[in-house]
């Protein structure tokens, strides 16, 4: 077993529908411009005057920054407490409203999928729906992410339990 994650929750310890409040973060002008300089130097993320004339209507965070800040909340609030084993990707990412200077965003994660990895019997695939809202309660970003997670026992051991008694039918085939 991986000593780094030994004391964390594993695949078997999670359940579908589990909802985690991930806390919030406030986005400053300096943060927006700092991120934009490094990863998204479009004029409407760097310059207030240009931003006012753009579709965003004012200086707004790069969508990638909103995602990165959400990921930070997810790491601190959830992924660092489970045996997370790497991100597989994400889908249906929607930037619904711009995140403007001074906005406070808060995130919630819900477990919407839990399945065994096909290639690695000692791992599972965890699907999380992420919802990010601003201080007015408006959704600013939603996405679904898929992450690998270590399992306590490989899939085939699960199907043939070592217990000396008969488990009720179905118990031996947990997700």
């Amino acid at each position: 077993m991986n000593p780094v994650t030994a004391n964390r929750r594993h695949f078997e310890d999670l359940s579908l529908g589990e909802k985690v409040a991930l806390g919030s973060t406030t986005v400053s002008r300096e943060m927006i411009i700092g991120w934009a300089r490094e990863f998204d130097p479009l004029p409407f993320h760097l310059d207030e005057a240009v931003a006012k004339q753009s579709l965003l209507g004012g200086l707004a965070a790069s969508g990638w920054q909103t995602g990165a800040l959400t990921l930070r909340l997810l790491g601190d609030g959830f992924l660092n407490h489970i045996a997370a084993a790497g991100g597989l990707g994400f889908s249906d990412l929607k930037w619904k409203k711009p995140v403007m200077v001074g906005d406070t965003i808060s995130a919630t994660a819900t477990i919407t999928g839990l399945r065994r990895s096909k290639g690695h019997p000692d791992r599972g695939v965890l699907t999380l729906d992420l919802f990010v809202v601003n201080q007015k309660g408006q959704e600013v970003m939603t996405m679904t992410i898929a992450n690998l997670i270590e399992a306590r026992a490989p899939a085939d051991e699960m199907a043939m339990p070592s217990q000396p008694y008969d488990l009720p039918r179905g118990e031996t085939h947990r997700p």
Partner: protein, 184 residues
Amino acid sequence: MTRWFEDLQGGDLFDLGSHSFSAPEIVAFGRLYDPQYLHVDPEAARQGPFGGLIASGWHTASVGHRKMVDALDAEADRLRELGEQPGVSGPSPGINQAEFKAPVRPGDTIAYSLTVSGKRLSNSIPGWGLVFNELSGVNQHGEQVYRAEVVGFSKLRDYVAPWHVRLLEALVRLPFVGRLLRRQ
């Protein structure tokens, strides 16, 4: 910023250049945005599923975005030199799907590219179109590490607003009426 919506065609391929990921850079990004041991702690990462430090997928994707913005800028400069007016790209409404297909390790060099996969007029914003792009990142061994289906707004060059939209735009610019209209 780039080519006009009207000039973009499905299948257009843009080389976005490459980026080498160093260990300090991977850790710095991880500490700020994705502080999992796989991305911030080389010692602990050695015990993990990848046997060493790997970049946050969000880092790989964000660098890919930067490479795209730089390439759009370069394309705009090229068009200006030809005496043409470059197009205007807008924000992105989202990403349909993104996959981190293989880990990015310290010292890896990722070559990014963008292929236009389709376009259509925006239903919600007159005068703008949506461009569907396929972004790809391939490492120095020719292995694809990242792919994403990204959507972006692009301004129409040849768009003329209908008369009632132009009237509304003119009214919005008036001092008193405009303020009332904008409040709606």
